[in-house]
Homo-oligomer: 213 residues x 2
């Protein structure tokens, strides 16, 4: 019954889930697909179609019960399963992520941090186990870590990825600007602030629109 | 001649540009579209089509001249134009971004930082002008700031966005988990590590594949 979810749908569904959490917290109990769409900036048919990927949820003409829809998404996407994660690179950005509480609150337990500088490992105050970078493969394998964040300089990113993959990592969030070599069945999400700014520049550039045919 | 670029194409072109920079630095001068595709994990026809959005670049059967292709992308996308940017929220993440050199090196000048805590503003060591959050609108307008990063807690994100938009901001990178209200002609890119981990979890989950019809 369940079909393979296209990536853009998966991205939108995660955003819908996030929005539902906020609406629920604000005391709302029902929401229409029109209202959901307006808050997300996407057309109502898309939202209904996206939600439909996870199976029937009954008559949505009367609007969705927020709590039911949230559970529907959580069960459909398996959002409540716990996963172990680690962070490679504990500079300013990596340390910020190490202390980011929302990860643990949402089932992603940061169980290890890595850095190539022993000095740095000794100065970071945390209850999370820290290791030198050459232990990545061994620790990832021993602890069964599924996900990793790479927050090292570009030049060191591919080596970090290779060690993680050798240890059995399944998914990587790559905050470095390096373009990592694709590996079958290893999933990578690139987050590059320069690229985000570039995309925003092009989207918001009036000269671009004016030069259209 | 130039057509409106679909967002996925724009995202890929930015990644191609990033890859070309690295190849050039490594001493390579030519690259085939097959090689580019392999390094990006995308089919060669897509890459050629993506590049084609920016106009003709001649016979690519002999491969691309890397420097020419890089300039082609830079001119086509207007990547070399300088833009002013600011950061709202100077906690661990915001401070890390404030010190992120790649932004300035790529034409994005961070010209202001904002935080609601005066204490925090006084303890951050930087040459960048820092201001209390209530001055966002005024400073963004006065300096003509085009882009902003929001790195405040979720509950404060919408207010930060409202102030930025009132000051005339064109694009926002939203690192908070909040889903911001869409506003016409204001472009937002959401970066949420929890969502990235969720997407990776679904993509890499073997049970998901097994339950397909």
């Amino acid at each position: 019954m369940r079909k393979d979810i296209p990536l853009p749908t998966l991205e939108r569904l995660c955003k819908v889930h996030r929005l539902l959490e906020d609406l629920e917290k604000s005391g709302m109990t029902r929401v229409s697909s029109t209202d959901l769409s307006a808050r997300l900036g996407v057309g109502p048919p898309s939202i209904r179609k996206d939600i439909g990927y996870l199976g029937e949820i009954g008559n949505f003409r009367a609007g969705y019960d927020i709590r039911t829809l949230r559970h529907h998404l959580e069960n459909g996407l398996g959002l409540n399963k716990k996963k172990k994660a680690c962070i490679v690179g504990l500079g300013r950005l990596g340390s910020a992520i190490l202390h980011y509480e929302r990860l643990g609150l949402n089932g992603f337990d940061i169980v290890a941090g890595f850095d190539s500088s022993i000095n740095r490992l000794e100065t970071i105050a945390t209850v999370i186990e820290l290791h030198p970078a050459h232990e990545i493969t061994e620790v990832v394998r021993r602890k069964g870590i599924a996900l990793a964040v790479i927050a090292v300089p570009s030049v060191a990113a591919q080596e970090a990825a290779d060690r993680l993959i050798e240890g059995g990592i399944r998914g990587i969030v790559n905050f470095s600007a390096a373009v990592l070599r694709p590996v079958k069945n290893i999933f990578v999400r690139d987050i590059d602030l320069v690229r985000e700014f570039r995309i925003l520049s092009v989207l918001s550039e009036p000269y671009w629109k004016k030069q259209q045919p």
